[in-house]
Protein backbone atom coordinates (compact mmCIF):
# COMPACT_ATOMS: atom_id res chain seq x y z
CA UNK A 1 0.00 0.00 0.00
CA UNK A 2 1.25 3.48 -0.83
CA UNK A 3 2.11 5.85 2.02
CA UNK A 4 -0.50 8.52 2.62
CA UNK A 5 0.87 12.02 2.45
CA UNK A 6 -0.59 15.51 2.35
CA UNK A 7 1.08 18.65 1.06
CA UNK A 8 -0.58 21.83 2.23
CA UNK A 9 0.45 25.25 1.04
CA UNK A 10 -0.62 28.84 0.73
CA UNK A 11 0.31 28.83 -2.96
CA UNK A 12 -0.77 26.58 -5.83
CA UNK A 13 1.19 23.32 -5.59
CA UNK A 14 -1.15 21.15 -7.62
CA UNK A 15 1.35 20.41 -10.36
CA UNK A 16 3.84 19.15 -7.80
CA UNK A 17 1.15 17.02 -6.18
CA UNK A 18 0.67 15.27 -9.51
CA UNK A 19 4.38 14.46 -9.58
CA UNK A 20 4.06 12.73 -6.21
CA UNK A 21 1.12 10.56 -7.19
CA UNK A 22 3.04 7.75 -8.82
CA UNK A 23 4.78 7.04 -5.51
CA UNK A 24 2.32 8.05 -2.80
CA UNK A 25 -1.33 8.24 -1.99
CA UNK A 26 -1.63 12.04 -2.05
CA UNK A 27 -4.35 14.10 -0.39
CA UNK A 28 -6.38 16.05 -2.97
CA UNK A 29 -6.24 19.59 -1.64
CA UNK A 30 -9.23 21.84 -1.83
CA UNK A 31 -7.38 24.65 -3.55
CA UNK A 32 -4.65 26.33 -1.57
CA UNK A 33 -4.27 28.99 1.09
CA UNK A 34 -6.52 27.18 3.53
CA UNK A 35 -3.77 25.03 5.00
CA UNK A 36 -4.61 25.97 8.59
CA UNK A 37 -8.34 25.72 7.95
CA UNK A 38 -8.20 22.07 6.92
CA UNK A 39 -5.77 21.31 9.74
CA UNK A 40 -7.95 22.87 12.43
CA UNK A 41 -11.31 21.60 11.19
CA UNK A 42 -11.79 18.05 12.46
CA UNK A 43 -14.49 17.48 9.86
CA UNK A 44 -12.31 18.45 6.88
CA UNK A 45 -11.49 16.11 4.01
CA UNK A 46 -7.88 16.36 5.19
CA UNK A 47 -8.74 14.66 8.48
CA UNK A 48 -10.90 12.14 6.69
CA UNK A 49 -7.94 11.30 4.42
CA UNK A 50 -5.75 10.63 7.49
CA UNK A 51 -2.27 11.29 6.07
CA UNK A 52 0.71 9.80 7.85
CA UNK A 53 2.96 12.68 6.74
CA UNK A 54 1.87 16.26 6.23
CA UNK A 55 4.15 18.74 4.52
CA UNK A 56 3.54 22.47 4.90
CA UNK A 57 5.34 24.23 2.05
CA UNK A 58 4.80 27.84 3.02
CA UNK A 59 5.51 30.98 1.06
CA UNK A 60 6.58 33.47 3.70
CA UNK A 61 5.53 36.50 1.64
CA UNK A 62 1.93 35.27 1.62
CA UNK A 63 2.06 34.52 5.36
CA UNK A 64 3.26 38.09 5.95
CA UNK A 65 0.56 39.38 3.61
CA UNK A 66 3.35 41.49 2.06
CA UNK A 67 3.79 43.37 5.33
CA UNK A 68 7.56 43.83 5.61
CA UNK A 69 7.45 45.97 8.78
CA UNK A 70 10.24 45.38 11.27
CA UNK A 71 8.37 44.02 14.31
CA UNK A 72 11.43 42.38 15.88
CA UNK A 73 12.34 38.71 15.65
CA UNK A 74 9.99 37.43 18.33
CA UNK A 75 6.97 39.60 17.78
CA UNK A 76 5.96 39.44 14.12
CA UNK A 77 2.15 39.19 14.42
CA UNK A 78 1.71 37.25 11.14
CA UNK A 79 4.26 34.63 12.05
CA UNK A 80 3.05 34.35 15.63
CA UNK A 81 -0.49 33.90 14.46
CA UNK A 82 0.44 31.20 11.94
CA UNK A 83 2.41 29.13 14.42
CA UNK A 84 -0.08 29.46 17.26
CA UNK A 85 -2.85 28.20 14.97
CA UNK A 86 -0.61 25.49 13.57
CA UNK A 87 0.39 24.36 17.04
CA UNK A 88 -3.22 24.04 18.16
CA UNK A 89 -3.83 21.70 15.21
CA UNK A 90 -0.93 19.30 15.87
CA UNK A 91 -1.97 15.69 16.37
CA UNK A 92 0.60 13.68 18.35
CA UNK A 93 -0.05 10.64 16.15
CA UNK A 94 1.05 12.30 12.93
CA UNK A 95 4.31 13.59 11.46
CA UNK A 96 4.57 17.15 10.20
CA UNK A 97 7.25 18.78 8.08
CA UNK A 98 7.13 22.58 7.84
CA UNK A 99 9.27 24.46 5.34
CA UNK A 100 11.84 26.95 6.53
CA UNK A 101 11.72 30.33 4.88
CA UNK A 102 12.79 31.98 1.68
CA UNK A 103 11.17 35.40 1.38
CA UNK A 104 10.59 36.17 -2.26
CA UNK A 105 8.72 39.04 -3.87
CA UNK A 106 9.63 41.87 -6.18
CA UNK A 107 9.42 44.48 -3.44
CA UNK A 108 12.13 42.81 -1.33
CA UNK A 109 14.56 43.96 -4.01
CA UNK A 110 13.58 47.56 -3.23
CA UNK A 111 13.96 47.23 0.53
CA UNK A 112 16.26 49.96 1.76
CA UNK A 113 17.26 47.92 4.80
CA UNK A 114 19.00 44.95 3.23
CA UNK A 115 19.00 43.01 6.49
CA UNK A 116 15.21 43.03 6.69
CA UNK A 117 14.72 40.09 4.33
CA UNK A 118 17.09 37.97 6.43
CA UNK A 119 15.49 39.14 9.68
CA UNK A 120 12.01 38.18 8.48
CA UNK A 121 13.23 34.79 7.30
CA UNK A 122 14.94 34.29 10.64
CA UNK A 123 11.77 35.22 12.54
CA UNK A 124 9.95 32.38 10.76
CA UNK A 125 12.76 29.88 11.19
CA UNK A 126 13.16 30.69 14.88
CA UNK A 127 9.46 30.14 15.58
CA UNK A 128 9.64 26.91 13.59
CA UNK A 129 12.65 25.67 15.57
CA UNK A 130 10.87 26.42 18.83
CA UNK A 131 7.84 24.39 17.75
CA UNK A 132 10.13 21.53 16.68
CA UNK A 133 11.79 21.50 20.08
CA UNK A 134 8.41 21.31 21.79
CA UNK A 135 6.89 18.70 19.49
CA UNK A 136 9.09 15.82 18.42
CA UNK A 137 6.67 15.02 15.58
CA UNK A 138 7.21 18.42 13.91
CA UNK A 139 10.30 18.67 11.76
CA UNK A 140 11.89 21.19 9.43
CA UNK A 141 11.56 20.72 5.68
CA UNK A 142 14.73 22.24 4.15
CA UNK A 143 12.98 24.35 1.53
CA UNK A 144 15.40 27.25 1.64
CA UNK A 145 18.33 25.05 0.71
CA UNK A 146 16.47 23.84 -2.41
CA UNK A 147 15.79 27.38 -3.55
CA UNK A 148 19.35 28.49 -2.81
CA UNK A 149 20.76 25.62 -4.83
CA UNK A 150 18.53 26.32 -7.78
CA UNK A 151 18.72 30.11 -7.50
CA UNK A 152 15.74 32.42 -7.06
CA UNK A 153 15.58 33.26 -10.76
CA UNK A 154 15.20 29.60 -11.68
CA UNK A 155 12.84 28.84 -8.80
CA UNK A 156 10.13 31.46 -9.10
CA UNK A 157 8.06 32.56 -12.06
CA UNK A 158 6.03 35.75 -12.02
CA UNK A 159 4.10 34.75 -15.11
CA UNK A 160 2.85 31.51 -13.61
CA UNK A 161 2.15 33.36 -10.40
CA UNK A 162 -0.07 35.86 -12.21
CA UNK A 163 -1.79 33.18 -14.27
CA UNK A 164 -2.57 30.69 -11.56
CA UNK A 165 -0.95 31.56 -8.21
CA UNK A 166 1.71 29.02 -9.09
CA UNK A 167 4.81 30.43 -7.43
CA UNK A 168 7.39 27.83 -8.41
CA UNK A 169 8.77 26.94 -11.80
CA UNK A 170 8.39 23.38 -13.06
CA UNK A 171 11.99 22.78 -12.12
CA UNK A 172 11.54 24.03 -8.55
CA UNK A 173 8.38 21.97 -8.13
CA UNK A 174 10.32 18.95 -9.34
CA UNK A 175 13.02 19.58 -6.75
CA UNK A 176 10.49 20.04 -3.95
CA UNK A 177 8.73 16.82 -4.98
CA UNK A 178 12.09 15.02 -4.99
CA UNK A 179 12.91 16.27 -1.49
CA UNK A 180 9.49 15.16 -0.22
CA UNK A 181 10.04 11.68 -1.70
CA UNK A 182 13.46 11.42 -0.06
CA UNK A 183 12.09 12.53 3.29
CA UNK A 184 9.31 9.94 3.31
CA UNK A 185 11.67 7.23 2.08
CA UNK A 186 13.99 7.83 5.05
CA UNK A 187 11.29 6.28 7.21
CA UNK A 188 10.86 3.17 5.12
CA UNK A 189 14.38 1.91 4.51
CA UNK A 190 16.84 0.47 7.05
CA UNK A 191 19.98 2.57 7.04
CA UNK A 192 23.44 1.04 6.70
CA UNK A 193 25.77 1.31 9.67
CA UNK A 194 29.39 1.03 8.59
CA UNK A 195 31.38 2.66 5.78
CA UNK A 196 34.49 0.65 4.90
CA UNK A 197 37.19 2.65 3.13
CA UNK A 198 40.20 1.84 1.06
CA UNK A 199 43.22 4.19 1.47
CA UNK A 200 45.44 4.63 -1.62
CA UNK A 201 43.72 6.65 -4.35
CA UNK A 202 40.60 6.67 -2.23
CA UNK A 203 41.24 8.79 0.87
CA UNK A 204 44.34 10.30 -0.73
CA UNK A 205 45.94 10.32 -4.16
CA UNK A 206 48.92 8.07 -4.84
CA UNK A 207 50.31 5.15 -2.92
CA UNK A 208 51.54 5.13 0.67
CA UNK A 209 55.17 4.14 1.16
CA UNK A 210 56.19 4.48 -2.48
CA UNK A 211 58.18 7.65 -2.04
CA UNK A 212 60.44 8.36 0.83
CA UNK A 213 59.66 11.93 1.60
CA UNK A 214 56.79 13.45 -0.39
CA UNK A 215 54.18 10.85 -0.01
CA UNK A 216 50.67 11.27 -1.21
CA UNK A 217 48.32 13.76 -2.83
CA UNK A 218 46.46 15.44 -0.01
CA UNK A 219 46.65 19.17 0.46
CA UNK A 220 44.86 22.50 0.42
CA UNK A 221 44.82 22.98 -3.31
CA UNK A 222 44.27 21.22 -6.64
CA UNK A 223 43.58 17.49 -6.56
CA UNK A 224 44.91 17.26 -3.01
CA UNK A 225 42.05 19.47 -1.88
CA UNK A 226 39.53 17.21 -3.60
CA UNK A 227 40.72 14.33 -1.39
CA UNK A 228 40.73 16.55 1.68
CA UNK A 229 37.14 17.61 0.97
CA UNK A 230 36.12 13.97 0.61
CA UNK A 231 37.57 13.36 4.06
CA UNK A 232 35.65 16.34 5.45
CA UNK A 233 32.37 14.87 4.18
CA UNK A 234 33.23 11.49 5.68
CA UNK A 235 34.17 13.12 8.99
CA UNK A 236 30.77 14.80 9.14
CA UNK A 237 29.09 11.47 8.36
CA UNK A 238 30.98 9.94 11.23
CA UNK A 239 29.76 12.70 13.53
CA UNK A 240 26.23 11.82 12.42
CA UNK A 241 26.71 8.25 13.60
CA UNK A 242 28.18 6.44 10.58
CA UNK A 243 30.82 3.99 11.79
CA UNK A 244 34.05 4.05 9.76
CA UNK A 245 36.46 1.23 9.02
CA UNK A 246 39.60 0.80 6.92
CA UNK A 247 40.01 -2.19 4.62
CA UNK A 248 43.20 -1.60 2.69
CA UNK A 249 46.13 -3.44 1.17
CA UNK A 250 49.16 -1.61 2.51
CA UNK A 251 52.01 -2.04 4.90
CA UNK A 252 50.30 -0.98 8.08
CA UNK A 253 53.22 1.19 9.22
CA UNK A 254 53.25 3.16 5.93
CA UNK A 255 49.53 3.77 6.10
CA UNK A 256 49.50 4.73 9.76
CA UNK A 257 52.39 7.15 9.20
CA UNK A 258 50.11 9.09 6.86
CA UNK A 259 46.92 8.72 8.91
CA UNK A 260 48.56 9.97 12.09
CA UNK A 261 51.30 12.11 10.64
CA UNK A 262 50.17 13.82 7.43
CA UNK A 263 49.29 17.43 8.16
CA UNK A 264 46.26 17.41 5.84
CA UNK A 265 44.59 14.22 7.07
CA UNK A 266 41.10 15.01 8.40
CA UNK A 267 40.35 11.40 9.35
CA UNK A 268 42.78 10.37 12.06
CA UNK A 269 43.23 6.99 13.67
CA UNK A 270 40.54 7.53 16.31
CA UNK A 271 37.89 8.16 13.63
CA UNK A 272 38.01 4.51 12.61
CA UNK A 273 36.30 1.89 14.77
CA UNK A 274 38.09 -0.95 12.94
CA UNK A 275 41.15 -1.27 10.76
CA UNK A 276 42.29 -4.08 8.49
CA UNK A 277 45.47 -2.83 6.86
CA UNK A 278 47.11 -5.98 5.53
CA UNK A 279 47.54 -8.07 2.39
CA UNK A 280 44.65 -10.47 3.01
CA UNK A 281 41.66 -10.69 0.71
CA UNK A 282 39.33 -7.81 1.37
CA UNK A 283 36.21 -9.96 1.58
CA UNK A 284 37.88 -12.05 4.29
CA UNK A 285 38.77 -8.89 6.18
CA UNK A 286 35.17 -7.70 5.89
CA UNK A 287 33.81 -10.96 7.31
CA UNK A 288 36.21 -10.60 10.24
CA UNK A 289 35.05 -7.04 10.84
CA UNK A 290 31.39 -8.11 10.74
CA UNK A 291 32.12 -10.67 13.44
CA UNK A 292 34.11 -8.23 15.48
CA UNK A 293 31.37 -5.60 15.43
CA UNK A 294 28.64 -8.21 15.72
CA UNK A 295 26.80 -6.85 12.67
CA UNK A 296 25.23 -8.49 9.63
CA UNK A 297 27.01 -8.04 6.29
CA UNK A 298 24.02 -6.06 5.05
CA UNK A 299 25.08 -3.23 7.40
CA UNK A 300 28.19 -2.44 5.34
CA UNK A 301 29.05 -0.13 2.44
CA UNK A 302 32.46 -0.63 0.80
CA UNK A 303 34.22 2.26 -0.99
CA UNK A 304 37.32 1.46 -3.03
CA UNK A 305 38.87 2.94 -6.18
CA UNK A 306 40.03 -0.43 -7.49
CA UNK A 307 37.38 -2.04 -9.75
CA UNK A 308 38.84 -5.51 -9.23
CA UNK A 309 38.52 -5.23 -5.46
CA UNK A 310 34.99 -3.88 -5.79
CA UNK A 311 33.99 -6.71 -8.12
CA UNK A 312 35.45 -9.35 -5.83
CA UNK A 313 33.63 -8.01 -2.79
CA UNK A 314 30.41 -7.77 -4.81
CA UNK A 315 30.72 -11.41 -5.88
CA UNK A 316 31.89 -12.89 -2.60
CA UNK A 317 29.68 -10.80 -0.32
CA UNK A 318 26.54 -9.81 -2.22
CA UNK A 319 24.97 -8.39 0.96
CA UNK A 320 27.64 -5.68 1.15
CA UNK A 321 26.72 -2.52 -0.77
CA UNK A 322 29.47 -1.53 -3.22
CA UNK A 323 28.84 1.87 -4.85
CA UNK A 324 30.64 2.97 -8.02
CA UNK A 325 33.78 5.04 -7.70
CA UNK A 326 33.97 8.33 -9.63
CA UNK A 327 36.42 8.73 -12.51
CA UNK A 328 37.84 12.02 -11.27
CA UNK A 329 38.95 13.00 -7.77
CA UNK A 330 36.99 16.27 -7.98
CA UNK A 331 33.76 14.26 -7.99
CA UNK A 332 34.63 12.40 -4.78
CA UNK A 333 33.02 14.69 -2.20
CA UNK A 334 29.76 14.87 -4.17
CA UNK A 335 29.66 11.12 -4.71
CA UNK A 336 30.23 10.52 -1.00
CA UNK A 337 27.40 12.90 -0.15
CA UNK A 338 25.19 10.85 -2.46
CA UNK A 339 26.24 7.68 -0.66
CA UNK A 340 25.37 9.30 2.65
CA UNK A 341 21.89 10.27 1.50
CA UNK A 342 21.22 6.95 -0.17
CA UNK A 343 22.48 4.53 2.46
CA UNK A 344 23.09 6.21 5.81
CA UNK A 345 20.88 9.22 6.37
CA UNK A 346 18.27 8.92 9.11
CA UNK A 347 15.09 10.85 9.74
CA UNK A 348 16.08 11.59 13.34
CA UNK A 349 19.44 11.43 15.05
CA UNK A 350 19.50 10.21 18.65
CA UNK A 351 22.25 10.64 21.24
CA UNK A 352 23.12 6.97 20.71
CA UNK A 353 23.74 7.58 17.01
CA UNK A 354 26.15 10.37 17.80
CA UNK A 355 28.24 8.17 20.11
CA UNK A 356 28.36 5.15 17.82
CA UNK A 357 31.95 5.11 16.60
CA UNK A 358 33.23 5.21 20.14
CA UNK A 359 30.98 2.33 21.09
CA UNK A 360 32.00 0.16 18.18
CA UNK A 361 35.68 0.88 18.77
CA UNK A 362 35.24 -0.08 22.41
CA UNK A 363 33.50 -3.25 21.31
CA UNK A 364 36.43 -4.18 19.12
CA UNK A 365 38.69 -3.85 22.19
CA UNK A 366 36.32 -6.07 24.15
CA UNK A 367 36.65 -8.79 21.52
CA UNK A 368 40.43 -8.61 21.79
CA UNK A 369 40.17 -8.97 25.55
CA UNK A 370 37.87 -11.95 25.12
CA UNK A 371 40.51 -13.61 23.00
CA UNK A 372 43.16 -13.14 25.65
CA UNK A 373 41.05 -14.36 28.57
CA UNK A 374 40.36 -18.05 28.35
CA UNK A 375 37.73 -18.36 31.02
CA UNK A 376 34.47 -16.71 29.96
CA UNK A 377 33.32 -15.93 33.49
CA UNK A 378 36.65 -14.34 34.22
CA UNK A 379 36.26 -12.24 31.08
CA UNK A 380 32.79 -11.11 32.10
CA UNK A 381 34.06 -10.19 35.56
CA UNK A 382 36.87 -8.11 34.09
CA UNK A 383 34.36 -6.21 31.98
CA UNK A 384 32.71 -4.83 35.16
CA UNK A 385 29.32 -4.58 33.48
CA UNK A 386 26.82 -2.22 35.09
CA UNK A 387 23.15 -2.27 34.08
CA UNK A 388 21.08 0.73 35.00
CA UNK A 389 17.31 1.12 34.64
CA UNK A 390 16.41 4.44 33.03
CA UNK A 391 13.11 6.27 32.74
CA UNK A 392 11.31 5.06 29.60
CA UNK A 393 9.10 8.10 29.01
CA UNK A 394 12.10 10.43 29.07
CA UNK A 395 13.82 8.34 26.39
CA UNK A 396 10.86 7.59 24.15
CA UNK A 397 12.75 8.31 20.93
CA UNK A 398 15.45 5.75 21.74
CA UNK A 399 12.82 3.26 22.91
CA UNK A 400 11.05 3.43 19.54
CA UNK A 401 14.33 3.10 17.68
CA UNK A 402 15.46 0.17 19.81
CA UNK A 403 12.25 -1.81 19.46
CA UNK A 404 11.97 -1.14 15.73
CA UNK A 405 15.56 -1.68 14.72
CA UNK A 406 16.38 -4.78 16.75
CA UNK A 407 16.10 -7.99 14.74
CA UNK A 408 18.18 -10.63 16.46
CA UNK A 409 17.47 -10.29 20.15
CA UNK A 410 13.75 -9.70 19.82
CA UNK A 411 10.97 -11.99 21.06
CA UNK A 412 8.17 -10.91 18.74
CA UNK A 413 9.67 -8.42 16.23
CA UNK A 414 6.52 -6.35 16.59
CA UNK A 415 7.15 -2.81 15.31
CA UNK A 416 5.65 0.29 16.87
CA UNK A 417 4.86 3.63 15.30
CA UNK A 418 6.15 6.50 17.42
CA UNK A 419 2.62 7.50 18.36
CA UNK A 420 1.71 3.93 19.28
CA UNK A 421 4.67 3.76 21.64
CA UNK A 422 3.66 7.02 23.29
CA UNK A 423 0.27 5.39 23.94
CA UNK A 424 1.98 2.36 25.48
CA UNK A 425 3.98 4.67 27.75
CA UNK A 426 0.80 6.32 28.99
CA UNK A 427 -1.10 3.05 29.42
CA UNK A 428 -1.37 2.07 33.10
CA UNK A 429 -1.64 -1.58 32.07
CA UNK A 430 1.79 -1.56 30.47
CA UNK A 431 5.07 -1.54 32.35
CA UNK A 432 7.99 -0.38 30.23
CA UNK A 433 11.53 -1.09 31.36
CA UNK A 434 14.52 0.48 29.71
CA UNK A 435 18.16 -0.28 30.48
CA UNK A 436 21.47 1.42 29.96
CA UNK A 437 24.63 -0.69 29.97
CA UNK A 438 28.24 0.30 30.76
CA UNK A 439 31.44 -1.61 31.22
CA UNK A 440 35.09 -0.87 31.88
CA UNK A 441 35.63 0.17 28.26
CA UNK A 442 32.77 2.63 28.03
CA UNK A 443 29.09 3.35 27.80
CA UNK A 444 26.89 1.35 25.39
CA UNK A 445 23.98 3.74 25.99
CA UNK A 446 20.40 2.52 26.24
CA UNK A 447 20.40 -0.94 24.75
CA UNK A 448 17.54 -3.00 26.10
CA UNK A 449 13.80 -2.66 26.61
CA UNK A 450 11.09 -4.82 28.13
CA UNK A 451 7.34 -4.25 27.92
CA UNK A 452 5.05 -6.14 30.29
CA UNK A 453 1.28 -6.14 29.96
CA UNK A 454 -0.45 -6.29 33.36
CA UNK A 455 -4.05 -6.06 32.20
CA UNK A 456 -4.64 -9.75 32.90
CA UNK A 457 -4.26 -11.66 36.17
CA UNK A 458 -0.91 -13.08 35.09
CA UNK A 459 1.31 -10.41 33.56
CA UNK A 460 2.74 -11.05 30.09
CA UNK A 461 6.19 -9.96 28.94
CA UNK A 462 5.20 -8.82 25.44
CA UNK A 463 8.51 -7.40 24.31
CA UNK A 464 12.11 -8.00 25.20
CA UNK A 465 14.70 -6.50 22.89
CA UNK A 466 18.41 -6.02 23.32
CA UNK A 467 20.90 -4.42 20.96
CA UNK A 468 23.30 -6.85 19.29
CA UNK A 469 26.16 -4.76 20.63
CA UNK A 470 25.70 -6.22 24.13
CA UNK A 471 24.67 -9.75 23.22
CA UNK A 472 26.63 -12.72 24.47
CA UNK A 473 27.48 -11.29 27.88
CA UNK A 474 24.64 -12.81 29.93
CA UNK A 475 23.24 -9.34 30.47
CA UNK A 476 19.80 -10.65 29.48
CA UNK A 477 19.77 -12.91 32.53
CA UNK A 478 20.21 -9.93 34.82
CA UNK A 479 17.54 -7.92 33.01
CA UNK A 480 14.92 -10.68 33.10
CA UNK A 481 15.63 -11.15 36.78
CA UNK A 482 15.27 -7.43 37.44
CA UNK A 483 11.85 -7.42 35.77
CA UNK A 484 10.78 -10.55 37.65
CA UNK A 485 11.79 -9.10 41.00
CA UNK A 486 9.99 -5.88 40.28
CA UNK A 487 6.77 -7.75 39.36
CA UNK A 488 7.05 -10.05 42.37
CA UNK A 489 7.36 -7.00 44.64
CA UNK A 490 4.23 -5.58 43.05
CA UNK A 491 2.37 -8.73 44.15
CA UNK A 492 2.35 -10.83 40.99
CA UNK A 493 3.13 -14.51 41.50
CA UNK A 494 3.54 -15.61 37.88
CA UNK A 495 4.84 -14.24 34.60
CA UNK A 496 4.09 -15.31 31.03
CA UNK A 497 6.05 -14.61 27.91
CA UNK A 498 6.42 -15.82 24.34
CA UNK A 499 8.68 -16.36 21.34
CA UNK A 500 7.59 -15.72 17.75
CA UNK A 501 10.08 -17.08 15.24
CA UNK A 502 11.43 -14.79 12.50
CA UNK A 503 14.28 -15.20 10.05
CA UNK A 504 16.66 -13.40 12.35
CA UNK A 505 15.70 -13.94 15.98
CA UNK A 506 17.32 -17.32 16.49
CA UNK A 507 19.49 -15.94 19.37
CA UNK A 508 16.45 -15.85 21.68
CA UNK A 509 14.86 -19.11 20.54
CA UNK A 510 15.76 -20.97 23.71
CA UNK A 511 16.38 -18.05 26.02
CA UNK A 512 13.50 -18.70 28.39
CA UNK A 513 14.14 -22.43 28.61
CA UNK A 514 17.63 -21.55 29.79
CA UNK A 515 16.16 -19.18 32.37
CA UNK A 516 13.95 -21.88 33.87
CA UNK A 517 10.62 -21.06 32.24
CA UNK A 518 8.14 -23.82 31.38
CA UNK A 519 6.85 -24.09 27.81
CA UNK A 520 3.04 -24.00 28.02
CA UNK A 521 2.26 -23.93 24.31
CA UNK A 522 4.11 -24.75 21.14
CA UNK A 523 3.10 -24.24 17.52
CA UNK A 524 5.75 -26.20 15.66
CA UNK A 525 8.80 -23.99 15.36
CA UNK A 526 6.86 -20.78 14.90
CA UNK A 527 5.60 -19.92 18.32
CA UNK A 528 6.20 -20.79 21.94
CA UNK A 529 4.54 -19.58 25.11
CA UNK A 530 6.17 -19.71 28.53
CA UNK A 531 5.31 -19.31 32.18
CA UNK A 532 7.27 -19.11 35.43
CA UNK A 533 6.42 -19.05 39.12
CA UNK A 534 7.99 -15.84 40.38
CA UNK A 535 8.41 -17.17 43.91
CA UNK A 536 10.60 -20.04 42.66
CA UNK A 537 12.94 -18.56 40.09
CA UNK A 538 16.18 -20.54 39.73
CA UNK A 539 19.57 -18.89 40.26
CA UNK A 540 20.84 -17.29 37.08
CA UNK A 541 24.40 -17.03 36.01
CA UNK A 542 25.66 -13.55 35.24
CA UNK A 543 28.36 -11.04 36.12
CA UNK A 544 26.42 -7.80 36.16
CA UNK A 545 26.00 -5.14 38.77
CA UNK A 546 22.52 -3.58 38.81
CA UNK A 547 22.60 0.13 39.47
CA UNK A 548 19.12 0.68 40.85
CA UNK A 549 19.03 4.46 41.03
CA UNK A 550 16.55 5.13 38.23
CA UNK A 551 17.43 8.27 36.31
Amino acid sequence: MKTKIAVLSNVNMNFMLRMLKDEFDVYETEGYGNELGVLLNPGSTYHEFDAKFTFFIMDLMEVLEHDLTDYGIDSNPHIKRWFSLFESGIDANKLYYVSDACLWGMETEALFDSQRKLALEYAWTKSLSQICEKHSNVRIFPYRKLIEKLGEDNSFSLKMWYMGKILHTNEAQGKIAGAIKNTVNLYTRTPKKVLLLDLDNTLWGGIAGEHDKTPVVLSDDHTGLAYKNLQRVIKQMQENGVVLGIVSKNNEADAMAIIDGHSHMVLRSECFAVKRINWNNKHENIIEIANELNLGLDSFVFFDDNPTERELVKQMLPQVMVPDFPKRPEELAGVMLGIYHEYFEKAVLTKEDLAKTKQYAENAKRVLMQESVSDFNEYLKQLEIVVKPVDAAANAERLVQLVNKTNQFNLTTKRYEEAEMLQVLKDKNKLVYLYQVKDCFGDYGIVSAVIVDVSTQIPVMEEFVMSCRVMGKRIENAIVEDVEKHLYKKGYSKLKTMYLKTEKNKPVENLFESLGYTVTFKDGENKKEYEIDLSHCPNRDYCVKMDTNVQ
Binding site: N14, F15, K159, M160, M163, G164, T169
Partner: protein, 72 residues
Protein backbone atom coordinates in the same frame (compact mmCIF):
# COMPACT_ATOMS: atom_id res chain seq x y z
CA UNK B 1 9.38 24.50 -34.51
CA UNK B 2 5.87 23.12 -35.04
CA UNK B 3 7.03 19.57 -34.26
CA UNK B 4 8.87 20.78 -31.18
CA UNK B 5 5.77 22.52 -29.87
CA UNK B 6 3.56 19.47 -30.44
CA UNK B 7 6.12 17.22 -28.78
CA UNK B 8 6.46 19.51 -25.77
CA UNK B 9 2.70 19.70 -25.21
CA UNK B 10 2.37 15.94 -25.63
CA UNK B 11 5.13 15.44 -23.07
CA UNK B 12 3.75 17.84 -20.46
CA UNK B 13 0.22 16.43 -20.75
CA UNK B 14 1.52 12.83 -20.78
CA UNK B 15 -0.91 11.91 -23.58
CA UNK B 16 -0.26 9.36 -26.37
CA UNK B 17 1.68 10.63 -29.36
CA UNK B 18 -0.64 11.93 -32.08
CA UNK B 19 -3.24 13.17 -29.61
CA UNK B 20 -2.02 16.73 -30.03
CA UNK B 21 -2.06 18.11 -33.58
CA UNK B 22 -2.18 21.51 -35.18
CA UNK B 23 -5.97 21.22 -35.24
CA UNK B 24 -6.42 20.44 -31.55
CA UNK B 25 -8.79 22.64 -29.57
CA UNK B 26 -7.70 23.01 -25.94
CA UNK B 27 -11.21 22.41 -24.62
CA UNK B 28 -11.32 19.01 -26.38
CA UNK B 29 -8.37 17.57 -24.47
CA UNK B 30 -9.41 16.34 -21.06
CA UNK B 31 -5.92 16.42 -19.59
CA UNK B 32 -5.44 20.05 -20.67
CA UNK B 33 -6.98 21.75 -17.64
CA UNK B 34 -6.14 25.24 -16.42
CA UNK B 35 -3.25 23.97 -14.29
CA UNK B 36 -1.68 22.11 -17.20
CA UNK B 37 -2.22 25.17 -19.35
CA UNK B 38 -0.03 27.23 -17.02
CA UNK B 39 2.64 24.54 -17.03
CA UNK B 40 2.61 24.38 -20.84
CA UNK B 41 2.96 28.17 -21.12
CA UNK B 42 5.84 28.05 -18.64
CA UNK B 43 7.63 25.29 -20.55
CA UNK B 44 7.11 26.96 -23.94
CA UNK B 45 8.85 30.03 -22.59
CA UNK B 46 11.64 28.20 -20.76
CA UNK B 47 12.48 25.62 -23.37
CA UNK B 48 11.49 27.11 -26.71
CA UNK B 49 11.62 30.81 -25.92
CA UNK B 50 8.01 31.34 -26.99
CA UNK B 51 6.63 34.05 -24.75
CA UNK B 52 2.95 34.93 -24.25
CA UNK B 53 1.68 37.81 -22.17
CA UNK B 54 -0.56 36.73 -19.33
CA UNK B 55 -3.65 37.92 -21.17
CA UNK B 56 -2.66 36.21 -24.42
CA UNK B 57 -1.96 33.00 -22.58
CA UNK B 58 -5.33 32.98 -20.88
CA UNK B 59 -7.14 33.62 -24.17
CA UNK B 60 -5.51 30.81 -26.15
CA UNK B 61 -8.10 28.38 -27.48
CA UNK B 62 -6.17 26.04 -29.74
CA UNK B 63 -2.76 24.72 -30.73
CA UNK B 64 -2.77 26.62 -34.01
CA UNK B 65 -2.63 29.94 -32.16
CA UNK B 66 0.44 28.76 -30.28
CA UNK B 67 2.19 27.80 -33.49
CA UNK B 68 1.26 31.09 -35.14
CA UNK B 69 2.68 33.01 -32.21
CA UNK B 70 5.92 31.07 -32.45
CA UNK B 71 6.23 31.87 -36.14
CA UNK B 72 5.75 35.60 -35.67
Amino acid sequence: MKEKILALITEVLKVPEGTITEETQISEVEAWDSLMHVMIIGELEDRLGISFSVDEALELANVKQIIEKAEQ
